[in-house]
């Protein structure tokens, strides 16, 4: 009887370890680099994680959901337009990745998801993203709608500071979604545009 409970405990422990290992194995940190050797951390999600249903609105007021991701590679960045440092830098990264990896003509799209829907109207988001590139897309929704997309991928955001000039802290990585609408890779800071483009090419070939 005593032995039985010990072996049961051992099985539970072994299963827990397998679960932990299994979870860890889902995120393979790889390195991708430019021909010149600039390196970028790329965490490939293995197996790719299908995205659950979600529904946001894009900067033109159209529904932005899973269907808008199907059949193309999508780079997502979660930020907001009143963010003076990190978000413009991320949009510049998108611009440089687009120059190398291509845009609509190669079925690649670049999306800024605003996690500040109170201040970021569709019109403001549209003006913002198109300042960087006419093809870039802005999307947002209520916090409940945003959560459908952010929670499963582990995207973090939280308001910080008081008054009308509050800030929003947010995930700093770029999230890559594959044409089958699966979370495929996470690109952490610091961002190296050439290496991100090279990483996409590697994933395209798989």
């Amino acid at each position: 009887m005593r032995q039985k409970s010990v072996s049961r405990a051992a099985i539970v422990a072994a299963m827990s370890i397998m679960l932990i290992l299994g979870f860890a194995a889902q995120r393979l940190v790889q390195r991708t680099s430019t021909a010149a050797g600039a390196r970028q951390a790329m965490t490939v999600i293995e197996p790719a994680q299908p995205l659950a249903e979600f529904a946001l609105r894009d900067d033109r007021g159209d529904v932005f959901d899973r269907d808008r991701l199907r059949g193309r590679w999508t780079f997502l960045f979660f930020g907001y337009t009143q963010c003076p440092d990190v978000c413009p830098a991320a949009m510049m990264t998108f611009k440089q990745v687009r120059a190398q990896a291509g845009g609509r003509e190669r079925n690649v799209q670049y999306v800024l998801v605003s996690v500040d829907p109170e201040r970021d109207s569709g019109a403001r988001l549209g003006e913002y993203v198109r300042y960087f590139d006419p093809e870039f897309i802005g999307a947002t929704g209520s916090h409940a709608e945003l959560a459908q997309l952010t929670k499963p991928m582990g995207v973090y955001y939280a308001r910080s500071g008081a008054g009308k000039d509050y800030q929003v802290n947010h995930s700093s990585a770029i999230f890559l979604i594959d044409p089958e609408v699966r979370f495929r890779a996470l690109l952490a800071q610091p961002h190296v545009p050439g290496a991100i483009a090279a990483g996409l090419e590697t994933l395209r070939k798989q």
């Binding site: 440092d85 510049m92 802290n169 995930s171």
Partner: protein, 148 residues
């Protein structure tokens, strides 16, 4: 006597505009804001050429409601901004305000500023010293310069 006083006055007049000589600003630029943005970021290198520690306590920019000093912290995959109350410049040391790190937040421009605009900026230090510089607005600098 008169000559000596005149010389003293002349010396004062010459030295006053240079005071304080100890902090030198270089490579200053303001990131051009996309339409609708109410906050712009300012970057620069502050070099303290003196033997005393200097502390930047406030800043003012012409055409903006106010200026704050903030630090972007990139940690555990998260970007957050923290206000910086005072920026210490060690004696004979430099501090860089750069993308992804400490930066000036220029809040609420009175009118949109495009690349090419010049913004007069005033930096105030704890010892009362004031440094005035004119900072250009630029579309973007290559992001690679702060990555190694």
């Amino acid at each position: 006597m008169m000559k000596a006083r005149a010389m003293l006055l002349a010396t004062l007049l010459v030295s006053l505009p240079a005071w304080p000589a100890s902090v030198v600003v270089r490579d200053a630029w303001i990131r051009e804001a996309p339409p609708g943005a109410t906050v712009l970021a300012g970057y620069m290198v502050l070099a303290n050429t003196g033997e005393q520690t200097q502390s930047l306590v406030s800043a003012r920019a012409e055409g903006f409601e106010r200026v704050e000093l903030h630090e972007t912290v990139l940690e555990d995959g998260r970007a957050s901004m923290r206000p910086v109350t005072a920026l210490t410049l060690p004696a004979r040391g430099e501090v860089a305000l750069a993308p992804g790190g400490r930066h000036l937040m220029l809040i609420r421009p009175r009118r949109p500023l495009r690349a090419g605009a010049q913004v007069p900026l005033e930096l105030r230090f704890a010892d009362g010293a004031v440094v005035r510089v004119t900072v250009p607005v630029e579309a973007a600098r290559p992001e690679s310069h702060h990555h190694h």
